[in-house]
Structures are given as structure tokens and as C-alpha cells.
């Protein structure tokens, strides 16, 4: 019979796939929180130019540029691990999923560094 895995079953945390899954969930929850804020901010377009431009000036501050760098990282991780999930489910990804994880994270990391450079070069 199967035993339900509890969070304190530490054996579970030894595997690449478990960590990939945990971070996929956490990044997903962060992104739905961001999406909610994003929809609300874009809604300020309907409240006239003064209101919108005020919001955009606030969001254009260096603090938000650093948060944008973080957002880009979270999106890249979620998107590239998502590619891995799709390959596991629809292809033979489960045969090489660990190698695939490190390759995709490496690609995501390169894109993160390149993208962060571009974002920060707009303000610094």
C-alpha cells in the first residue's frame, strides 16, 4: 500500500525532481500574485492620463527595476521548468529529466543575466 508523503519525510527532498516541483509551485504562486497586481495596475489606464502616468512614474523607480529583475528570474524558472514538465508528460522526458533540468536551468540563467543587464541598463 502507498503511504502519503508528509512534509517531514526528508527522503523526499533528496531528488532533483522534488526540488524542481517545489520551486515550480512557489514560483507559480508568486506569479499569480503578480498577475493580480498587473491587471490592477493596467486598469489605471481607464482612470485617465494623470493617474496612469503617476502610477508609471512610481513603478519606474530603481526599486521596481530590481523587482522586475526578480520577476524575470521567477518567470524564466517557471517557464523553463514548465518545458521540462511538458516534455516529461508528452515525450520521453522522464528518461533524462535530471539532465534536462540542469540544461534548462542553465539556459534560463543565461537569459536571466542577459535580460537583467538590459532592464538595469535602462535605469543605471
Amino acid at each position: 500500500m502507498y503511504k502519503r508523503t508528509k512534509f517531514y519525510d526528508l527522503d523526499y527532498y533528496k531528488f532533483t525532481g522534488s526540488w524542481a516541483w517545489i520551486f515550480h509551485r512557489l514560483s507559480g504562486l508568486a506569479l499569480i500574485f503578480y498577475l493580480t497586481l498587473h491587471i490592477w495596475v493596467i486598469n489605471s489606464l481607464t482612470r485617465g492620463p494623470e493617474k496612469f502616468n503617476k502610477v508609471m512614474t512610481f513603478l519606474g523607480s530603481p526599486l521596481f527595476k530590481f523587482l522586475e529583475v526578480g520577476l524575470w528570474g521567477v518567470i524564466l524558472y517557471h517557464a523553463f521548468n514548465g518545458v521540462r514538465v511538458v516534455l516529461i508528460d508528452f515525450s520521453k522526458g522522464s528518461l533524462y529529466h535530471k539532465r534536462l533540468f540542469f540544461i534548462l536551468v542553465a539556459v534560463a540563467f543565461i537569459l536571466w543575466v542577459a535580460g537583467s543587464y538590459v532592464i538595469l541598463s535602462h535605469v543605471l
Partner: protein, 124 residues
């Protein structure tokens, strides 16, 4: 076959498949979105620029598709997490209703923004 197909509504197989399809759609749209609005365009856009862009029906259709897939993918993702940790029926019904309520509100806010902005005059 028919019987098995009926069962999928209980097992969540359709939700699983839609989660993968929306993932692939989002991967393409989100990467394009980030490339256009975070890397190519510098600084924060003014109200007039955004309003001018949102006069194109194709652009707005794309935004609507983005909104719907992102909301579905995000909120179904939240529900998948909830299903793993909440086993009491009352909690599940309450959270499922809350997710639907939040989803419909955000869909309404997003769609309202697109429609209202499409009918604004960019020159004002």
C-alpha cells in the same frame, strides 16, 4: 470509451491537459510580451503611447487571449496546490468558490480595461 471519458471530469484529466496547452501558449506570448515591453521599449510608456497601441483590434485580441490563458493557468495552478493540502470537503468547496470569484473579478477588470481603452481617443 464513453464511460472512461465521463470519468475524466472527476480525475481532472481535462484540467491537466488544458494546463499543458495553456502553458505552451503562455510560453510564447509571455516571452514575446517581455521582449517587447521590458527589453526593447526603454523607460515607462506614457498614457498616450499605450492608448494609441491599444486601438488595434489584433493587439487587443492578443491581450484578451493572454488574459484568459494566464488567469486559467494561474488559478488552475492554485487549485492544483489546494487539492494537495486541503482534504476536507467544506474547505475545498469554499476555496474553489473563492478561486472562481477572484478569477471572474479579474477577468471582468481585464476585459473592462481592454474594451474601455479601445474606445478612448489617443489624442486626448
Amino acid at each position: 470509451m464513453n464511460k472512461n471519458f465521463k470519468e475524466t471530469s472527476k480525475t481532472g484529466a481535462i484540467a491537466w491537459l488544458l494546463q499543458r496547452i495553456s502553458a505552451v501558449v503562455l510560453f510564447v506570448i509571455l516571452m514575446t510580451h517581455f521582449l517587447l515591453y521590458h527589453f526593447i521599449s526603454k523607460g515607462t510608456p506614457s498614457w498616450n503611447e499605450v492608448i494609441a497601441k491599444m486601438q488595434s483590434p489584433w493587439f487587443n485580441l492578443m491581450q484578451f487571449l493572454f488574459l484568459v490563458t494566464a488567469l486559467y493557468h494561474g488559478l488552475n495552478g492554485v487549485w492544483m496546490v489546494v487539492e494537495d493540502y486541503f482534504h476536507c470537503r467544506c474547505w475545498r468547496i469554499a476555496i474553489f468558490s473563492l478561486i472562481w470569484l477572484v478569477g471572474l473579478c479579474l477577468l471582468f477588470i481585464g476585459t473592462f480595461t481592454i474594451i474601455k481603452v479601445a474606445n478612448l481617443n489617443p489624442g486626448v
